[in-house]
């Protein structure tokens, strides 16, 4: 009993430490712009720009990549994913592209990608993006082949739902690009951005003692990759609370019109980004501010964004943009904070030896265990990233880690149930089977690259897998050309 009681402060400390690291400057610089990009994508990209390529009469070599692109551009929340999935399946391009869309959407949305990049490394984020798209198209093709007969019998109504034409206004396109630039400038660790060009000394005494006090309050172990709460971190947390409060007054009621709070909270977000991009170095008797390349990049892009919101975007666009962003933050951020804290607590309870024994190396078993864990555990959006970070620190190999990262948002009991209600039980379980296979393969390939296999060889493996799969598809399809009714349905031409 005593040991349990003694362990509690330790556990809470670990949770708080994890949360502090999460709110650290470099994560904020990635996540805050990512939320805004997600909001801008939802509000400013008309869905018709993608959905018109997902109609019944679109050729396959266009509809599959379009489905993958749709997963990236349109699907930040489940309220888009499921209806669009059902629509493509029942009334549009069919089962294959619908499955591709379903596979790609949760794995590569902008929030998940940039968060993965900031916390786990850019290579993992890129691997997640590329492999999810390649295998998403693969799974879609396979599903379309296995169930080709039913696909041919779908209702042949006209696809007017997919005929809509709309284009993005030029200013919202530029707005989105500037946001992406902000994200890249905030996230990339290259010399041009991290070098400090000017130093400012502020005679603020006591900041260093404040930071010492924070370090004592939240103990951390740099050898484990943990970060403590710096004075800058504390300032950022304070600013975040302020943003939350002002946004509640300014954005929650944005449909009744803009008010002063709307602009105050938006301004505070810009200020937070600027503070996060500064290098802040407290020393006895003062504080040294380092104006890095990052700071100037953030300064310029936030000014451009502010100017565009005030003069270039229509009121409607600005309103929708702010509302969607706020909705994402409100929906995801609190869960993320709780999740990150919980992960910090749990980390103390797992022995590194367990993880290392099972998934410490890039084996088939290790990758498969990663996938199984991903399928049976359900975590809210984005929580998979801190969990993956926990596994990484406990000694998991990056290969199995990617296998887990691809399969976790993809498959959960909840998503399997919803999918079942749309495409039926048999198709769903076949889908689950193929996702497990492909996630395991993705982990193995990426793991091989980490272990030193050259990129060329890994690409060759990937190509080989795709060739074998498409060969099998072609063979099966070839056999199926024989029955007379198939002649009318040119699913795959020879």
């Amino acid at each position: 009993m005593d040991t349990i009681l003694n362990a509690i402060p330790n556990l809470l400390g670990s949770g708080a430490g994890n949360l502090a690291a999460y709110l650290a400057a470099h994560v904020l610089l990635c996540l805050l712009p990512a939320f805004y990009i997600a909001g801008a994508m939802t509000a400013l990209i008309p869905k018709e720009t993608i959905t018109r390529y997902l109609g019944r009469n679109t050729p396959k070599f266009i509809s599959y990549p379009a489905a993958a692109a749709g997963g990236f551009l349109l699907a930040v929340c489940s309220c888009t994913v499921i209806p669009l999935f059902a629509g493509i399946y029942k009334k549009g391009a069919g089962l294959g592209p619908a499955i591709t869309f379903l596979f790609v959407a949760p794995a590569v949305n902008i929030l998940a990608l940039s968060y993965t990049g900031a916390v786990l490394g850019l290579d993992l984020a890129i691997a997640r993006l590329v492999l999810a798209i390649v295998f998403g198209i693969g799974v879609g093709l396979i599903m379309a082949l296995i169930f080709w007969r039913e696909d041919a019998q779908r209702d042949q109504k006209t696809d007017h739902m997919f005929a809509g034409q709309a284009s993005m206004s030029r200013s919202s396109m530029i707005f989105l690009l500037v946001l992406v630039f902000l994200l890249i400038a905030g996230t990339f660790q290259i010399d041009l951005l991290t070098t400090s060009y000017f130093q400012l000394d502020l005679p603020l005494a006591g900041v260093d003692r404040f930071q010492e006090y924070l370090f004592q309050l939240v103990p951390f172990d740099p050898s484990l990759g943990e970060e403590g709460v710096t004075a800058q971190g504390a300032l950022l947390i304070g600013l975040l609370v302020l943003i939350g409060l002002t946004a509640w007054k300014g954005l929650e009621k944005i449909f009744d019109g803009f008010n002063a709070w709307t602009w105050i909270s938006t301004g505070l977000v810009g200020l937070t980004l600027l503070v996060a991009s500064l290098g802040i170095n407290p020393y006895p008797g003062g504080v040294e501010l380092m104006l890095t390349g990052k700071f100037f990049a953030v300064l310029v892009s936030t000014l451009v964004l502010g100017w565009m919101m005030a003069t270039q975007l229509s009121r409607e666009e600005t309103r929708n943009f702010l509302w969607e962003t706020w909705r994402f933050i409100k929906q995801i951020f609190p869960l993320l904070v709780v999740g990150v804290f919980a992960v910090g607590v749990i980390r103390e309870l797992i022995r590194p030896e367990w993880i290392q024994a099972v998934a410490g190396e890039n084996t088939v078993l290790g990758n498969f265990v990663g996938v199984v864990f991903g399928v049976f555990m359900y975590f809210p959006t984005l929580i998979e990233v801190p969990i993956a970070q926990m596994f990484l620190r406990l000694g998991m190999h990056r290969g199995p880690l990617l296998a887990y990262l691809i399969s976790d948002p993809e498959l959960s009991l909840q998503s399997i149930l919803i999918t079942t209600s749309i495409i039926g039980r048999l198709k769903t379980w076949v889908y689950v089977f193929w996702v497990s296979i492909f996630s395991t393969l993705a982990g193995l390939l990426y793991g091989a690259w980490i272990d030193g296999t050259s990129l060329l060889l890994v690409s060759l493996y990937l190509l080989g897998i795709l060739l074998v799969t498409s060969g099998v598809i072609w063979l099966l399809n070839h056999r199926k050309q024989d029955p007379p009714e198939a002649a009318a349905v040119p699913v795959y031409k020879e």
Binding site: K47, T51, L74, C77, C79, T80, I82, P83, L84, A86, G87, K90, K91, H160, M161, F255, E316, N320, W323, R327, K330, Q331, I418, S421, I422
Partner: protein, 83 residues
Amino acid sequence: MLTIKILGTGCPNCKRLESETRKAVESLNAEAEYIKVTDYQDIMSYDLLSTPGLVINEKVVASGKIPSQGELTSMVTSALAES
């Protein structure tokens, strides 16, 4: 009398869409019956690719976004003219 259906599984945007629509209907002094459609199978029987969806007299007039007050009033006005 209009029949207005709000299609969506209860995400914040569906609630927002309903309150915005109510506002538009009230401003026109029209009467309407509101029905929330939350079951996926029922939602899918309408032609739309994203929620929230707005259906007036069984016709999908908006989906995937919250129309502005101006758009909403013109939708309601034309539905009133047709009925």
